[in-house]
Symmetry: C2
Subunit: 206 residues, 2 copies
């Protein structure tokens, strides 16, 4: 059943989870109309999305905010801890290592690696920079489930290959390149230039 949740719905669930926080202080329930307004989507879509989780709403009343948050978190698998390894301790990798929004949802940065000997040994926000050569060992020993690629583009594919070979099943790619990975490994791409270029398209075509 879970596996049949449409991907578009899955990517909206984290947004709903965020938006529900805005009700926590003021109300114990919320309607699909209210949540839709905050999340910036159609109310029918909210109801349809939430219906994939089961029937947790009450007709005539709405959804119990805390209940719903728990159900969404459960559906997303946020009841577990996820050890994260970041490869690339440059500007972006370092900023990610310092980011404190991870822990709120059970993500823990357990390693920060770099290939540059000059960076290895540095301490970035309590994370020692370790050598890339230790990647496989670290993945194994610390049970890394998510790998973050924050290297320059030319290094990204090789890092992803090694992550996948070492058993990492999920990769978040910040390098401006398209990664090719084996079946069973999922990649999500976050590309600053791509986002900016999509914005310029619309700026340009008005």
């Amino acid at each position: 059943m879970k596996a049949s949740i449409p991907s578009a719905t899955i990517s909206r669930l984290p947004v709903y989870l965020r938006c529900l926080d805005e009700f926590t202080a003021t109300s114990t329930t919320c309607s699909s109309d209210q949540l839709a307004a905050i999340a910036g989507v159609n109310p029918a879509q909210v109801r349809k999305d939430l219906s994939y989780l089961g029937s947790y709403g009450v007709r005539g009343v709405g959804y119990q905010v805390e209940d719903l948050k728990a159900q969404i978190a459960r559906a997303l698998g946020l009841t577990k801890e996820y050890p994260v390894a970041i490869v690339g301790a440059g500007n972006l990798g370092s900023a990610l290592a310092k980011y404190d929004g991870f822990s709120a949802w059970g993500f823990e940065v357990v390693a920060l690696l770099d290939i540059d000997p000059e960076r290895v040994g540095l301490e970035i926000d309590d994370h020692p920079v370790e050598p890339l050569s230790a990647l496989e060992q670290i993945v194994e020993e610390r049970d890394v489930s998510i790998g973050i690629v924050a290297t320059p583009a030319p290094a990204a594919q090789e890092v992803a290959d090694r992550m996948a070979a070492a058993g990492v099943r999920s990769i978040l790619n910040f390098a401006p390149t398209v990664l090719h990975v084996p079946d069973g490994v999922q990649v999500r791409r976050v590309d600053l230039s791509t986002e900016l270029q999509i914005l310029t398209f619309h700026l340009h075509n008005v």
Copy 2:
């Protein structure tokens, strides 16, 4: 005509642009099959996407790599310069200010602002941190066309409101919140936790 390019196509154009670089060294032409393999999409989709730009391919031969890059860049509006202002000089904002992949496509960081007096006056990679109070003046004087929100979530909406009021038409939001903006202003959201949570869904449901 341009305005009728589907949004899914628009978000793939920057990817094609990236992938075409891989041909530059080895070949002057490429086929939709080759480009599709590198970009990780269906060959028919590549042809359909590119057909929105006009007919720049040659049957039996393929596309001229350099030609196609120029056409995509033109369609995306990358022939102009886009002044960018970053609000929030914390970990992420600073990393973005230092990012040198901007300039390759005509983006120039012309301001880095922060509300914290302790940060104002710092110099981050040649960008002086300026006070948030100067936002409106800076947008006007430096003709800022893209605003990047790299503040904590609670501050993001107010910053976006001020950007929009000052005439910024495009906003890239890194704060973990959904921004509400007037018609005519476009927002794209980049949310680390959302990406990680989408990954955990699949990790969890295997």
